[in-house]
């Protein structure tokens, strides 16, 4: 026999996908549901937690439990990198106002809250190894937060590492006041004469830290994508290490692999 909480979750799941419960609709309080299903509160809550992990409902402390609007996932397509590269050398006007995030979401710059914080940090062992520099080398760490004004929570939490002495050749790149830089990082690197040759992305899934769960507005049980992007210039040197944490229930990642023709 399945567990009670599984059967209750299945019952509610059916009502949600079947349309008996409408998106946005508030569910009865836990105590009422508990009486209806004749179980203890703990069991009732466990059933609800299951549905929250699936993204079907959303619980708001002190307020209520609601059926989620069919949350369409934001698609993050890796062709964004080629697209960004093609635009890196365009004029300021052509680059202005639309970056890779805007392309993913279909939103414009004015619909987004954007923040960037810069700091200089010493390279830890892992970063140093990837960059091929001694541990402790000065790095420019840039922390990004981008949030659609129409949403309560940001799409992702990101930061980027660059070797300080490399980017310092253009002092404009050390000033976070110049963000958002039209055209993004590849346009910034272009001012240094750097052209990217290839990009490697490594993806893992893991539970969010408490802070990430709070910042991303993640319900208990939802995992995050932890994506590390390593950018190489045309000579194979590592230029940037960027990290992005994306809510696992709101994101779809897409990659296209082109294959060489047979001879």
């Amino acid at each position: 026999m399945a567990t009670k909480y599984d059967r209750i979750a299945a019952d509610l799941r059916e009502q949600i996908v079947g349309g008996t419960l409408h998106p946005g609709q508030q569910l009865p309080p836990e105590t009422t549901l508990r009486d209806h299903y004749r179980v203890s509160l703990v069991t009732m809550r466990r059933a609800l937690d299951e549905l929250a992990a699936e993204g079907l409902i959303e619980k708001r402390h002190g307020y209520g439990t609601f059926v989620r609007k069919p949350r369409q996932r934001v698609v993050r397509d890796a062709t964004r990198h080629q697209w960004e590269k093609d635009r890196a050398r365009l004029s300021h006007g052509e680059r202005f106002g639309t970056g890779a995030t805007e392309r993913d979401t279909g939103l414009e710059m004015k619909d987004l809250d954007f923040r960037a914080d810069y700091a200089i940090v010493p390279a830890d062992k892992e970063s140093a190894q990837i960059f091929g520099v001694p541990a402790g080398t000065k790095l420019l760490k840039r922390v990004y937060r981008t949030k659609p004004k129409s949403e309560e929570y940001p799409l992702g939490l990101g930061h980027s590492l660059l070797v300080h002495d490399v980017v310092a050749k253009n002092p404009d790149l050390l000033d976070s006041g110049n963000e958002p830089w039209p055209g993004g990082t590849q346009a910034q690197l272009y001012t240094l004469g750097i052209e990217l040759g290839h990009i490697k992305e490594e993806i893992i899934a893991r539970p969010p830290s408490a802070s990430e769960a709070e910042q991303l507005g993640i319900d208990s049980g939802v995992s995050v994508f932890d994506l590390r992007k390593i950018s190489f210039d045309i000579n194979g040197r590592v230029v940037e290490i960027a990290n992005t944490v994306l809510a696992g229930d709101r994101t779809q990642l897409v990659y296209t692999i082109n294959l060489d023709r047979w001879q």
Copy 2:
């Protein structure tokens, strides 16, 4: 103040990463831990569930709770597709015994338990749309299970869809008895004169279904990668739709994006 279960989890986490608790070591029973931390059993269990979701411990019903060996993630590198393509036209002997899974894990065929089940199914709406055929069209559905003999659980659960009338031109491809086919799907398609041009992979993270959790041996709270691979031939026609479900705490996905040179 943080919650009790968070503080208990933090305490145990520190002991695990700090080395006070060794990999493979059994933790005291929940009741003993409960007495030690002076909390209720429910609270104690919640702390342990947190660590299980992080992959730091592994709970075995009726047996005990153990510190996990630093689980190294299996890397699934998308360059596997090009590698597989390069090998598709090699001789049987050169293809034999090493496929993409073996390449990922470093294991040989003899170290793997392999099973394939074939069935003919009608295309549902979504598959039909992707293939560009009418709904209900006969598809060959192939279900795969691959498990290292040294592990208790499979790496992933996979299935693949092909248009039946296309592959039926080579009757050998309809017989699961011919699996594992040396060189994999691309070698199979080669017998039909089909060459792949590009591959698109779509990735989402979600909680496992009850059946997936059981088959993959996933602890509560761990998400899975749900990866859909769509293979296009050199004319842009969809040839295969393949789906793989991978344990989120045991897998790392890697993609390399090559960028066109500036003119």
